[in-house]
Amino acid sequence: MIGIQQQFRLEDCPVSDLMQRLRQGRLCLDLGATSIRVNSDSSELAAQLGKVYPQHPLIEGADWADHHVSVTRAKGWRRWIRPQVDFSCDFQRPFAPFPADAALPLFEWGSNWLIGQRLAHLLLLHAGVLERDGLALVLPATPGSGKSTLTAALSLRGWRLLSDEFGAFCPDRLRFIAMLKPVALKNRSIDVIRNFAPDAPLGPSFPKTRKGMVAHLAANRDAVDRRKEWVRPGAVVIPRWTEGAELSLEQLAPHVMFGALAFNAFNYQDTGARGFDAVSHLTTVCRGWQLTYSRLDDAISALNELWQQVRDRARQPFENMAQK
């Protein structure tokens, strides 16, 4: 059983204390759908985790974690010359080392990879997911389409963040659950969010990663505290950021929505018939739209307006079933 001391969060913990917990492999991050125990001798990682997971609870005496990872300083010459850190899990080192000061991007990248490989009981859509009025807004997208930027912006305007990367959908419960990690913003989107919300809790910027400049937006306290709440599917919106474009919201044909959900998912192939049934369910209960936008404020206004329709429709489930 996990004992959560609700009054203590990572933000309450001095870096020296976080460092000690990391050294002893006692830092457990509960993301909602899964949990990760982290072991590290990197003081950089301790400080960086504190900045981008500030609201996550400090968990004492967790006797179970789904993933056990290590982010450790490379040995030999690399300890002294242009130091590096390694990511490992179960004695495997799936990635090349990163510079020691980029321990957080390595942790985020490595743990995302593990989650995508291992959580076979959930269908892991490649999508941002947010909740409002008890319904999930699913934002599937291809990289570069502005999904993370829009997810971050919505989370800063009253929508509850479940995930930026993994739409974790349970085929048995037919509900979403949070996979609550910080939103990874890349390149221009970092300044876009800084300008959009100057008080946004952004962590340090990491230049020259494989994806360019990366910075992480921390989840807020409400999102963290409600990360175990299951959420009904509400709507699917495929965002597309286009410079200078007028805002448009066009309804998607069901086969386009099905393809966007299934063929973009991390583990659709692995989930077999359960995955097919899960995507079929989502395509049946949700309507889908393509959102083209250039200004975040316009996009958010449009989604807020759209949500009224989604909410009204969700209140009439039996009527909707009959129409289908």
């Binding site: 044909a253 069901p254 086969h255 099905f258 393809g259 299934a262 063929f263 659709y268 192939q269 077999g272 018939a273 097919f276 049934d277 995507v279 079929s280 395509t283």
Partner: protein
Amino acid sequence: MLDINPDDAALTSLLRTPEGVRCMDLGTMWAAYSPLSGQTLMLNTEAVAILEILRERPGTLVEVCRVLASEGGHSAAELETLCRDAWSNLLEVGLLEPSASGGESRA
């Protein structure tokens, strides 16, 4: 020497829809899942009609086209030409499989 094309062989084989094939109506198209290959494909209504006919009873392309022709529209010969590629593709992705019970054919 005889030149046997495996695709031609498939066209005259007795096939059936494997157990566990799922089809989802998506309006103008269908999504179909094969438990044999683990693949999901987008199909048109004609292809799904083939699966549904062969779900009930194994058959050859000629037999399936005869059934489809009886529903109206095209002649069996026209349908055979139209469905030839789909037939091979459905077999390749595991939405059809050779039938072990050859004697159940309607021909």
